[in-house]
C-alpha cells in the first residue's frame, strides 16, 4: 500500500516548478493578460520541450504515455504559476476523447500533433455537462453541424475543435472549417481562454467509438484537472499570504504574529491540504478504478472549488489593501480559482450529480 507520489512524480513537479519560475514570472503573466495574448507562446514552447502537451498521449503517438495523476501534478503547477497557456482541453480532455472514441486514422492524424504542441485542441461540452443556455446547443445531421457551443476551453489558438452535439455525439472540426465563426469571451481570468463557436452548416467528422465513455472521460478528467489547478493556485495564495504576513508590520510587529492573522493562514492550509489527497485519489481512480472515477472526480471538483473560494478571499484579506490592488497581481490567482469553480459544473450541480450516481436522487 503506497498512497503517495513516486520519486519520478516528485521530480516531474520540481522540474516543472523550476521551469515555470524561470519562464513564467508575474511580469510575464501580466504581459499576456494585459496584452490580450491568446496564450504565452514562449511559456508554451518551454512546456512543449518538457513534453507537457503529450502527457497522457501514448508513446506510440509521440506522447509520454503517463497517467492522469501525472497530468494532475502538471495542472497543479500550471495553477501555482497562473500560467497563461492551454492545457486541460488540449493535453487531457481531447486526447482522452480521441483515445476512447477516435478511429485509428483519427488518432494517428491528431494525437501526434497534439502531443508535440503543434496543434492546440479546444473542447466544447458545456451544453452536455453543465447545462445549455439560451439558444446554445449544436445539432448534427448529414455530417454538418449547426448551432452554437458556448464556453469552449483552450479556445484561443485552437486548430482543432471537439464539440458535443445535443444528442451526445462528438465531432472533430478543423479550425479553418467553412461556416465556423469564433467569438472570444472576455472573462475575469485572462490567463486561460474561453470562447463560443457558431456553426453554419460546418463540415465535421464524427468520433464513432464509445462516445458516451469519451464524453464522461472528458468531463471527469477535466474536473480533476480543474481541481488540481485550484489546488496549485490556492497553495500559492497561501504561500504568498504567509510570506506577506511575515514581512508586513503594523503596531510595531509583523502582522503574522497576530493570532487573528495566523489563524486565517492555518484555516486555509487545514482546508486545502486534504484536497490534495482527494485529487490524487480521483486521478488514480480515473485510470485504475473506473467504477469509482466519476464520483471521485465530482467530489474533487466540488470540494476544491468551495475550499478554493475560501482560500482566494482569505489570502486576499491577509494582504490587506495591497491584496486589492492590481499592482500586487494577487488577483490573477483569485480570478483563476474563480474560473475553475464555474467550468464543467459548479459545486451545487456537481454534488447533485454525485447524489444521482449513488442512487440518492433521480436523474
Amino acid at each position: 500500500m503506497e498512497f503517495g507520489l513516486s520519486e519520478d512524480q516528485r521530480m516531474l513537479q520540481d522540474s516543472l516548478n523550476g521551469t515555470l519560475e524561470r519562464v513564467c514570472p508575474l511580469e510575464r503573466v501580466r504581459k499576456a493578460a494585459e496584452g490580450g495574448e491568446a496564450m504565452a507562446d514562449d511559456v508554451w514552447t518551454a512546456l512543449t520541450e518538457l513534453g507537457v502537451p503529450g502527457m497522457i498521449v501514448p508513446e506510440a503517438q509521440g506522447g509520454l504515455g503517463l497517467a492522469l495523476l501525472d497530468a494532475a501534478l502538471v495542472s497543479e503547477m500550471l495553477g501555482r504559476h497562473v500560467a497563461p497557456v492551454p492545457f486541460i482541453a488540449t493535453a487531457v480532455m481531447a486526447p482522452a476523447a480521441l483515445m476512447r472514441a477516435g478511429s485509428m486514422a483519427q488518432q494517428e492524424e491528431w494525437l501526434p500533433k497534439l502531443a508535440s504542441g503543434e496543434v492546440v485542441a479546444s473542447v466544447a461540452i458545456a451544453e452536455k455537462v453543465s447545462g445549455a443556455r439560451e439558444d446554445a446547443g449544436v445539432t448534427a445531421s448529414g455530417g454538418k453541424l449547426n448551432g452554437k457551443a458556448w464556453f469552449a476551453m483552450d479556445f484561443g489558438e485552437a486548430g482543432l475543435f471537439i464539440v458535443a452535439d445535443m444528442d451526445g455525439g462528438l465531432h472533430l472540426v478543423k479550425g479553418d472549417a467553412k461556416g465556423l465563426a469564433r467569438v472570444g469571451l472576455t472573462r475575469i481570468d485572462l490567463t486561460r481562454s474561453l470562447g463560443e463557436w457558431q456553426f453554419d452548416d460546418v463540415e465535421a467528422e464524427p468520433l464513432s467509438g464509445d462516445t458516451v465513455g469519451a464524453l464522461n472521460a472528458m468531463r471527469d478528467a477535466g474536473r480533476i484537472m480543474l481541481a488540481a489547478d485550484t489546488l496549485g493556485t490556492g497553495w500559492m495564495m497561501i504561500d504568498k499570504a504567509v510570506a506577506y504576513a511575515k514581512e508586513r508590520k503594523q503596531f510595531g510587529r509583523v502582522i503574522g504574529s497576530f493570532q487573528a492573522v495566523k489563524h486565517m493562514c492555518a484555516e486555509m492550509a487545514a482546508e486545502l491540504e486534504p484536497c490534495r489527497s482527494l485529487v490524487w485519489y480521483a486521478a488514480h481512480a480515473f485510470d485504475e478504478m473506473p467504477e469509482e472515477g466519476p464520483l471521485m472526480a465530482a467530489h474533487a471538483k466540488s470540494l476544491t472549488s468551495d475550499v478554493g473560494r475560501f482560500v482566494a478571499r482569505t489570502a486576499t484579506e491577509v494582504h490587506g489593501g495591497m491584496g486589492f490592488t492590481d499592482l500586487l497581481g494577487l488577483h490573477y490567482w483569485f480570478k483563476r480559482i474563480g474560473l475553475n469553480r464555474q467550468l464543467l459544473g459548479a459545486p451545487e450541480r456537481v454534488r447533485r450529480e454525485a447524489a444521482v450516481m449513488q442512487g440518492w436522487a433521480a436523474d
Binding site: 504574529s257 493570532q259 492555518a266 436522487a361
Partner: protein, 397 residues
C-alpha cells in the same frame, strides 16, 4: 500510487479474519468499559497472545513483542471495526501512560506497571488539566512540597475521565515553584486510594458525567514515584500528549458516521418523502461526504509517510482540527434532517438512534475543545506548519 496491500498483507488480513470468525463468540458485548470485568480481561488476554493488542510492546512487559508495522495495525483495526468487535482495552493507561513509560520510565517502573496495565488489572487516570490551566497547561498550580521522603500534594485537577474507576493516577504537579513554569513540573504516580483524594463527578452538557474533578488535600506520595527527573515533568507529559493527539480526529470514525446518516436519510421520511430526497439536506450530505473522503485519503497518505519514516509536515498537524470539525458537522446534519425528532433525548417516545445524534453533537464540541482547542491547533499549524512567528510575550508591568 498503489492502493493494494500486496500478498503478505492480504495473507495477514486473512489470518485476522479467521481469528475473528473463530473467536467472535468470546468477544464482550460492550464495546468499551471503564473497569474491565472477567470477560473483558479474558478477551484482552486473548488479543495480546495473538498480537491484536499490545502488539509492539516487548514480551518482558506482557506485550506481544511484534515489530512495529503500521499497515498490519491498520488491517487489524479495519477488520475488527468491520466485524463490530472491540479491539482490546482503550483507556488512557494503555494509550498514553504505557507509551510514556516505555520511552522514559526506569526498568523497575516498566516491570512493575506495564503488564498489569495491559491486562486491565490496573486502571489509570490522567491528572493534567486544572481549573486555571487549560490551554496554558504549563501554568498548573497543584503543589507538591517536600517533606522527608515524601511529596505532600495540594490542589485540584479537572477533566479527569475514569477517575472514579481508576486505581492509579499519572499526575503533573509543581515541585519547583521558583523555576520557570515549564521547568518546575514533575510527573508523579500514585494510588487513587491515597488518603486526601476526593473525586467528584463532573456532569457535562450531555447530561452524563463523563469527567471528574479530583481534589488533593495533603496527599503524601513517596518521592521515588516519579517518572523522569524532578522538574522534567513537562517534557515527560509532552511524550504522552503526542500519543493523545494521534487518537483524536480519526477519519475512519467519520466514515462510519457518514454511513449511519445515509441510512437514516434513506429510511426516515417526512411528509412521505425520504429525507435524502430533500435537495438541501442532500447537498449538505454530499458536501460532507467529499470532506470525509478527503480526510480518509489524507489518512492513507499519512499512513504511507509513517511507514516510510517520512515526516509529512503540515499534513499531520491538521488532522485533529479537521477531523473533529467534520464529525461535529455530520451530527449537526443528522439533527437538522430529523427536524423536531432531532431534539428528542433521554428516553423520549419517538426517540431516534437512542438520542445519540444530540449527545454526539454535544460531545464532539467537547472534543473540539479538549486535547488542545481548535484555536491552539491553529497556533500549532501556523507556527510549526507554516513557520509563522509566535505571539510575542506581553511586556512585564
Amino acid at each position: 500510487m498503489d492502493l493494494a496491500y500486496g500478498p503478505e498483507y492480504e495473507a495477514f488480513r486473512e489470518e485476522v479474519r479467521q481469528f475473528i470468525a473463530k473467536h467472535r463468540k468470546d468477544a464482550p458485548e460492550r464495546m468499551r468499559v471503564a473497569r474491565p470485568d472477567a470477560e473483558w480481561k479474558a478477551w484482552q488476554q486473548l488479543l495480546i497472545e495473538n498480537g491484536y493488542a499490545a502488539r509492539t510492546i516487548p514480551t518482558e512487559y506482557g506485550g506481544y513483542g511484534g515489530e512495529p508495522d503500521i499497515l498490519k495495525s491498520r488491517i487489524i483495526a479495519e477488520e475488527f471495526t468491520a466485524a463490530g468487535l472491540p479491539l482490546g482495552l482503550a483507556n488512557q493507561g494503555i494509550s498514553m501512560f504505557v507509551p510514556t513509560l516505555l520511552e522514559l520510565g526506569t526498568p523497575e517502573q516498566k516491570q512493575k506497571w506495564i503488564e498489569p496495565t495491559l491486562k486491565g488489572e490496573v486502571v489509570w487516570c490522567q491528572g493534567y488539566s486544572e481549573p486555571g490551566s487549560g490551554s496554558d497547561l504549563a501554568s498548573l498550580q497543584t503543589k507538591a512540597t517536600e517533606d522527608g521522603d515524601d511529596f505532600v500534594i495540594n490542589g485540584q485537577k479537572i477533566w479527569t475521565s475514569t477517575a472514579k474507576d481508576a486505581d492509579m493516577i499519572f499526575c503533573l504537579v509543581r515541585t519547583e515553584p521558583d523555576a520557570p513554569k515549564h521547568q518546575g513540573i514533575s510527573y508523579l504516580l500514585f494510588s487513587m486510594d491515597t488518603p486526601g483524594i476526593e473525586v467528584r463527578p463532573l456532569k457535562t452538557m450531555t447530561g452524563a458525567a463523563e469527567f471528574n474533578e479530583v481534589f488533593f488535600t495533603d496527599v503524601r506520595v513517596p518521592k521515588n514515584q516519579i517518572v523522569g527527573e524532578r522538574g522534567q515533568g513537562w517534557f515527560v507529559a509532552n511524550a504522552t500528549l503526542k500519543h493523545e493527539r494521534g487518537m483524536l480526529g480519526d477519519p475512519n470514525q467519520a466514515g462510519t458516521r457518514l454511513k449511519e446518516i445515509v441510512d437514516l436519510m434513506q429510511t426516515e421520511t417526512m411528509d412521505g418523502q425520504k429525507l435524502i430526497e430533500n435537495p438541501l439536506y442532500r447537498d449538505r450530505l454530499v458536501e460532507l461526504q467529499s470532506r470525509v473522503y478527503a480526510m480518509q485519503f489524507h489518512g492513507l497518505r499519512l499512513l504511507t509517510a509513517a511507514s516510510k519514516g517520512e515526516d509529512p509536515g503540515i499534513a499531520r498537524l491538521i488532522v485533529k482540527l479537521q477531523g473533529c470539525e467534520i464529525n461535529h458537522q455530520l451530527a449537526a446534519l443528522a439533527i437538522d434532517a430529523l427536524g423536531e425528532l432531532g431534539v428528542l433525548y433521554g428516553k423520549s417516545p419517538h426517540l431516534r438512534a437512542w438520542g445519540s445524534w444530540q449527545s454526539r453533537y454535544m460531545f464532539d464540541l467537547g472534543l473540539i475543545i479538549g486535547g488542545g482547542t481548535a484555536q491552539i491547533q491553529k497556533n500549532i499549524i501556523s507556527e510549526r506548519g507554516l513557520d509563522m512567528p509566535r505571539e510575542p510575550k506581553p511586556a512585564k508591568a
